[in-house]
Every structure is written in structure tokens, then in C-alpha cells.
């Protein structure tokens, strides 16, 4: 139904896409993969009418088209589900679905018809359990995604572009999304599926198009390629090992929790050792992030004891935690990690400045920030570049540089590689390991279980705000999942 031929696009003289072909058939799920910067999002934006191609043609349903804006593409039947949802948190599902196209009766909005039509659209994709009158802001991420999909369906979308649809979903929600994608496919919907997670690509898609440096490397049938082969295409080199070697021995106990708890966490006893990475696994909502936030003093512990290098401490604010030598690399880079409109250098110096007793910036600290930015290998046009224009991997490195300026004793990583491409992931992994080997105690949270198993010296599995069990770093996925889901008891 969609055919892109020889599509090219450049921005300010930089060729972002060159001579790319892509074809999507009705009822096909077609993956688009590639490292960050490979041109995936530009390609999706061309398909959805956000950008005009400089070269090549876009054919839609057998006709050459040139969409002026996303609204025209929508009207023609091309829906797009962005990574960040376009929803109003304070409005109902139905109000969101029909925003801009509210049905009228005698000049007034026909709320009943709006709810009814939303309900029947929900039913048509097997999501009857979601009420059209639910307030979107109170729904889970998965249901918000369903709302977005229904919004596209209400526009009679014949094709959907899904950009990293599982990035924010919990494991069991991913299963639900799989079911939904398959039902849409069975209806004859064509789906362009952009994802970093290769497992999904193999589970869901019929064909895969690999982009690298703005060019199409290949398009293959999913069944005819292995994960290793796909990664080779994406990075153009063999990744012999994904993870740096683990630490040989545990150092002294750095951070110790005894019976710690708050309103979301109960009876947490853990020890973080110098030189080691402690992986925290658990399903979404099991309290993984709550644990990191509690240690960091955001939502502090109200019960139990915390010791840092043998001394009892009580941390009730991030400022105290930072002073004690704890750094927290948050899960949500955009909202909690970066001041997006400030420069790379400003972001790198944020924590140093906040803690400085001095009023004026000193050249020494700026110099140190520069050294650290270079050490973590941030690739930016300049240190004055606004951080929001960097790729996810580079943003994460800026955040790391910021914390390294304080030489932290304990580092808490919450989803450090979410939304980061394969190559940059390896760099972040190396950095984490290097920090541990220099004597820091690392706590790492990740939804990507293979990553966690590859990185951790020890694992703690959480369930319902408690530690369900501790495992050695050599544990297998099955054991972890049994503990995390409570299937073993």
C-alpha cells in the first residue's frame, strides 16, 4: 500500500537519508531498525507527512502523493503512534479520540455519540474493558497507547506507524500489545514498526528493513535471518561480546539497607559492595524505581536503617544524598535528567554548581566538566549545543559526566540504556563497569533482562515492594522470572 522509492532528505547540508526504498503491504508488519542516527525517524516523518523528501517518490494506495502536513496524511489513512503520546491527561478517552472532530447534534457536542463510537472502536480491537469515559491521565501507559491507536482507527487509518511502542510498557503489557498488533494485522492494517528491541522485531514482524547512516542496508524476511545477523547489518561489524567482563571479587560494603521501608517498600535489606554491580530486577510496579528513589532521598525511607561506609545515615532529600556521595541516573532522561534547553556544558555542571558553596563559577570546575565530557566521549557539535538535540546515548553520557564530577561512592542507574542504540549501549555498559572497577558501588535497574544478567555481579529480584530473593550474577532468565512473578512459590 505504501511505496517509498529512492527517498532522500538533507538538513542544513547534512544528508540524513539517501536513496531509501521501503514497501509496506496491507496486513504486513514491517520492522524498521537501525542505530540512532540511522535515519529511522526521518523516514517515518516522511511517511507520515511531517517532512517532504528532497528526492524520490512516495506512493500511497497506488498514487503518487505529497502530503503537506501530518493532518493530510492522517486524512489519507496514515496514522502514527509517537513514542510520546499526543493525549490530554485531563480529558476522557472519548474526548481524546475525537479531539478536533467532535460529533455534533444541534450544534452542540454529542457526548453520548462520542462515547458510543469510542466504545465500538475499542470493542473492534478487543479492548472492551477500557471505558470511553475514563480520564486518560489516570490510565496506565498501555491503555493510553490503546487510546492512541483507537484515535488513529477513528480516522480510518489503513496503515499505522508505531515508534518504539514498547519503550514505556511493562512486560505483561508488551504481551497485550502483541495481541493488539496481531489483531490489527488480521484486519489488513499495514504496520511500520520501529523498535530497538530485537526480540519484538522477531516476534512480531514479517519483514525487516535495516537502515544505516541514512541508507538502506537491506530488507529481509524476518524468518530468514538470525538476531546476530541482524545486529551485524545494523552496526556493520560483529559484536563479539555485548558486555564487559564482570568483577572478580566484592569489595567492602558501601551501602547497607536493613529492614528499610516506606509506603511503597517493605523490609528491604540489601548490601551494595564497592567494585560490584547489583542488578535489580522485577516487573514494572514491583518497586524497583521506588527503591532507587528512596535511597536517593526523593521518596525517602521512613523505616529501617541505612549505612554508608559503616556510618548510619538518614537521607531525606536528594541534596543530602548527593552530599553523601550518591548519584542517581534517572529513568526519565527528559523529565528528570536534563534541562533540555541548556547547553551540554551547563547540564554537565548542574550538580557541581548546585552543591558549590561559591557564588561564581570557577575556571577549574569548567575545566573538569570538559575533561569528563571528553572522558565519557560525548559527541556533540560543541559544548554550547542544547542538550535536547543530542541522541539518547549522548544525553546519557552528559548525565554521567555530571555525576562523575562529584566522584560518587554509590551510583544508582535506572534504565540507563532505554531508548539508546546498540553501539551507544555498549559504551554506557563499559562506563558503568569502569566506574565499579574504580571502587564505586553500582545499583542498576533494567527492564531488559539479558542486559541485567550481562552486567550484574549479583541480582536482587523485587516483587510487590519487597526483595523476593537474591541471586548470583550467573543466574538464568527463567530463575529470575520465576522469582519476579512469584511463580516458584
Amino acid at each position: 500500500m505504501l511505496q517509498l522509492r529512492g527517498v532522500g532528505k538533507s538538513f542544513l547540508g547534512v544528508q540524513v537519508l539517501q536513496d531509501v526504498d521501503l514497501e509496506l503491504a496491507a496486513g504486513e508488519v514491517h520492522a524498521v531498525v537501525g542505530e540512532n542516527g540511522a535515519g529511522k525517524s526521518t523516514l517515518m516523518k516522511i511517511a507520515s507527512g511531517v517532512y517532504h523528501p528532497d528526492a524520490g517518490t512516495v506512493r500511497w494506495l497506488g498514487r503518487d502523493v505529497s502530503f503537506r502536513d501530518p493532518r493530510q496524511a492522517q486524512a489519507a489513512g496514515i496514522g502514527i503512534i509517537h513514542q510520546e503520546f499526543n493525549l490530554l491527561a485531563d480529558r476522557t478517552v472519548a474526548q481524546n479520540v475525537f479531539l478536533g472532530r467532535e460529533p455534533l447534534r444541534r450544534g452542540l457536542v454529542d457526548t453520548a455519540a462520542m462515547n458510543e463510537r469510542t466504545a465500538s472502536l475499542l470493542a473492534s480491537i478487543g479492548e472492551e474493558s477500557l471505558s470511553p469515559q475514563a480520564i486518560v491521565g489516570r490510565l496506565g501507559v498501555a491503555q493510553q497507547q490503546v487510546t492512541e491507536i483507537v484515535k488513529a482507527l477513528s480516522l480510518d487509518a489503513r496503515m499505522l506507524i508505531m515508534d518504539e511502542p514498547t519503550a514505556a510498557l511493562a512486560d505483561h503489557e508488551v504481551e497485550l500489545l502483541y495481541g493488539l498488533v496481531r489483531r490489527l494485522k488480521a484486519r489488513g492494517m499495514g504496520i511500520l514498526y520501529v523498535s530497538h528491541r530485537l526480540k519484538e522485531v522477531f516476534d512480531l514482524t514479517d519483514r525487516i528493513t535495516v537502515l544505516k547512516d541514512g541508507r538502506r542496508v537491506t530488507t529481509v524476511d524476518t524468518s530468514s535471518i538470525t538476531a546476530d545477523g541482524l545486529v551485524r547489518h545494523m552496526v556493520g561489524r560483529e559484536l563479539s561480546h555485548y558486555y564487559p567482563p564482570k568483577s572478580a571479587e566484592a569489595g567492602q560494603e558501601r551501602l547497607t539497607l536493613q529492614g528499610a521501608g516506606n509506603n511503597r517498600l517493605h523490609d528491604i535489606s540489601l548490601a551494595l559492595h564497592a567494585g560490584q554491580v547489583l542488578g535489580i530486577c522485577g516487573l514494572q510496579g514491583s518497586g524497583r524505581s521506588a527503591l532507587a528513589r528512596a535511597i536517593f532521598g526523593v521518596d525517602a525511607f521512613t523505616r529501617g536503617n541505612v549505612h554508608l561506609d559503616g556510618a548510619s545515615i538518614r537521607l531525606s532529600s536528594p541534596r543530602q544524598a548527593i552530599r553523601a556521595g550518591i548519584a542517581y541516573i534517572t529513568e526519565d532522561r527528559k523529565a528528570e535528567g536534563l534541562t533540555a534547553q541548556q547547553s551540554v556544558l551547563d547540564n554537565a555542571m548542574l550538580a557541581t554548581r548546585a552543591l558549590s558553596p561559591r557564588w561564581f563559577a570557577t575556571a577549574g570546575r569548567t575545566l573538569k566538566a570538559r575533561e569528563l565530557l571528553a572522558a565519557v566521549e560525548v559527541h556533540a557539535a560543541s559544548e554550547e549545543q542544547e542538550v535536547r538535540y543530542l541522541s539518547g546515548g549522548n544525553q546519557q553520557k552528559v548525565i554521567l559526566a555530571r555525576w562523575l564530577a562529584l566522584t560518587p561512592r554509590v551510583l544508582l542507574f535506572d534504565e540507563p540504556t532505554r531508548g539508546i542504540d546498540v553501539g551507544a549501549k555498549a559504551a554506557i555498559h563499559d562506563l558503568i563497569r569502569k566506574l565499579a572497577s574504580e571502587g564505586a558501588a553500582v545499583l542498576m535497574i533494567s527492564s531488559d533482562l539479558p542486559e541485567l544478567l550481562g552486567m550484574s555481579d549479583r541480582l536482587a529480584v523485587m516483587r510487590d515492594g519487597r526483595i523476593a530473593g537474591e541471586l548470583p550474577g550467573t543466574a538464568d532468565e527463567e530463575t529470575v522470572m520465576r522469582l519476579a512473578t512469584g511463580a516458584s512459590s
Binding site: 493532518r71 485531563d90 474526548q95 479531539l99 478536533g100 524505581s289
Partner: protein, 320 residues
């Protein structure tokens, strides 16, 4: 959510009970007809402005020019009428026309020149202020007795002006909840990009919102002219209608950032401010102390709303 929507009415009830007891202990009575009526009449003018302000704030904007629009339109009304009943209708048309024009200017400055609403409406307000100060030393024009009935007549115990305010509130409620424009207005305030990507003509929505907000201020100007019997160049700014209307909106639970709230809360907010005024007048308390109490009430209300929001926050973090 419930707290945000209905909290102001609880606070109003509580204030009336406590205030009633205090006034009674002081030897007076809060609920005499004359004191209630004057309380309501004071509230009506602010109420009409605050309803317009509610729309502006819901749309993620705000209007600081309303106080000067009120002064200006009170003068336009009184000078056009100039004591003659025959000129009432032309005067009303002139007032609505001028205020709509000012709203259009506000809206264009905000949407087309991309000037922050705070600055744009402040600038327009100061422009009007300059004109008024240069042209008028004191009250001017005169309003015929027939038009003064708007300010003083009652139907039973209910002043006509209160009915006018309730009518404006009713229209605003329907607009917000039952028209496309209202849905789009709330969407624009909730998230401008979401609204735009959903096909809402966001600029046009904001412009219309500002026109409505200004027209509400114009109606309040008409009402004040009928109360005063003349136009007054400083009636709006001395009455503090700009900041008080915003205070009433916030007291009523509308989020200052836009996208959430409604006119019913604003009516409650206006009533609460009026009740506090009435009680303190009865008690003959130092007016400065009265201002302090109002300030405390507004800050406390916002703090309570913010806390209720924070308690819900884990829901937002549920993805973690």
C-alpha cells in the same frame, strides 16, 4: 479531583458558618437581607470578569488587561448614554464592540506575534491606562435611571446583577462542556501541540477565547457604570479586578497552567472572596488585615490543591 472541583464550596460553607458565628458573637447578623444583598452585588461584577478569566486561564492563557477594560467600558457606556434612555442599546453595542476589539488585539499579539500572554495583556492594559489617565481626571458621563436598575433592582432577595452573572456563567458552562469550541479551548490549554496535531486551529481558539474574556470585562464595565451612575477611569484598577479575578479562578480549582477546571468552581471562588469581605465588613476589621486574610486563603487553597495533586502522583509513576 473531587477536592479540586468541589473544595471551594466546602470552604465557602465553612467560612459562612464560622463568619456567621463570629458576627453573631459581635452582636450583629451576617444574614440580614441588606448585608447579603450588598455582598452579592459586590460579587456579581467580579464574578462576570472571573468567568471570562476562567476561559482564558483554561486555554493556558490569562488576561491582565481586564481591569482597564472595565474602566474604559464604564466610561464608554456612561458617555454614550449621557443620561438618555434611548442611547442604552447603542451604548451596549459600543461597549461590546470595543471590548471585543481589545480581546482581538490581545489574541493577535499572543498568537501571531507570539508574545507571552502575561506581557501582551499587561501591555494592552497599560495602553488603555495611559489613554484613560490622559483623557479623564474623574468620573464622566451619566447613566439614565432606567439603566441603573441593572445595578440596583432585585427579584425577591436576588439582585438582577447576580442573575446576570449566573446567566454568563451558564452560557460559559455550556460553551465549555457542550460546544466544539469549548472542547478545543480546554485541549489548547491542556497541551497546545496535542491540540494542533489533532487538527484544532489553536490560534483561532485562543483569539476567540480572548475576545470572550474581554467582552466579559466589558459587561462588568456596563454593570459598574449602572452602579455608579457614571463612568469612572479608575474603577477597574482600584477594584483590583485583574488579580482578584485570577485569584477567584484559582480558588475555584482551575489550574493556572490551563487544561483543567471550570466555571462552577470560579463562581464558588467569587462567592468565597465576597463572603470573606462581607464578614470582615460586619466585624469592622482593619481593611489591611482583611487583605492579609484573603492572601492567606488564596495561598492555602493553592497549597491544598497542590498537595492533593502530589498524593495522586504515584499513579503517574505507576510505570516505574
Amino acid at each position: 479531583m473531587k477536592l479540586r472541583e468541589h473544595g471551594v464550596w466546602g470552604a465557602l460553607g465553612l467560612t459562612l458558618i464560622v463568619g456567621g458565628i463570629l458576627v453573631y458573637a459581635d452582636g450583629g447578623s451576617l444574614f440580614t437581607q441588606s448585608s447579603t444583598v450588598s455582598l452579592l452585588q459586590r460579587a456579581a461584577g467580579l464574578g462576570i470578569v472571573a468567568i471570562g478569566q476562567t476561559l482564558a486561564i483554561l486555554a493556558g492563557s490569562l488576561d491582565l488587561s481586564v481591569a482597564y477594560v472595565i474602566s474604559l467600558t464604564s466610561l464608554i457606556a456612561a458617555e454614550t448614554m449621557d443620561g438618555s434612555s434611548g442611547m442604552i442599546v447603542p451604548a451596549i453595542i459600543a461597549v461590546l464592540g470595543v471590548s471585543a476589539g481589545i480581546g482581538l488585539l490581545n489574541g493577535l499579539l499572543i498568537t501571531k506575534l507570539k508574545i507571552n500572554a502575561f506581557i501582551a495583556t499587561l501591555g494592552v492594559g497599560l495602553l488603555i491606562k495611559g489613554y484613560l489617565e490622559q483623557g479623564y481626571a474623574g468620573p464622566a458621563g451619566s447613566v439614565p435611571t432606567s439603566f441603573q436598575r441593572l445595578g440596583y433592582d432585585r427579584i425577591g432577595p436576588v439582585p438582577l446583577s447576580v442573575l446576570l452573572m449566573l446567566a454568563v456563567a451558564g452560557v460559559a458552562w455550556i460553551v465549555l462542556n457542550r460546544t466544539r469550541f469549548g472542547h478545543h479551548l480546554i485541549a489548547v490549554g491542556g497541551d497546545l501541540d496535542v491540540a494542533r496535531l489533532s487538527g484544532v486551529r489553536t490560534d483561532w481558539v485562543l483569539i476567540r477565547t480572548h475576545i470572550i474574556c474581554s467582552v466579559c470585562a466589558g459587561i462588568a464595565g456596563l454593570y459598574l457604570a449602572s452602579r455608579l451612575g457614571a463612568g469612572a477611569p479608575r474603577v477597574g484598577s482600584e477594584g483590583g479586578y485583574d488579580l482578584e479575578s485570577i485569584a477567584a479562578v484559582v480558588l475555584g480549582g482551575t489550574v493556572l497552567a490551563g487544561g483543567r477546571g471550570g466555571v462552577t468552581g470560579t463562581v464558588g471562588g467569587v462567592a468565597l472572596l465576597a463572603a470573606i469581605d462581607g464578614i470582615f465588613n460586619q466585624l469592622a476589621v482593619d481593611p489591611f488585615f482583611k487583605q492579609v486574610v484573603r492572601g492567606v486563603v488564596i495561598v492555602a487553597a493553592v497549597a491544598i490543591y497542590a498537595m492533593s495533586l502530589r498524593r495522586k502522583a504515584p499513579g503517574k509513576v505507576a510505570t516505574a
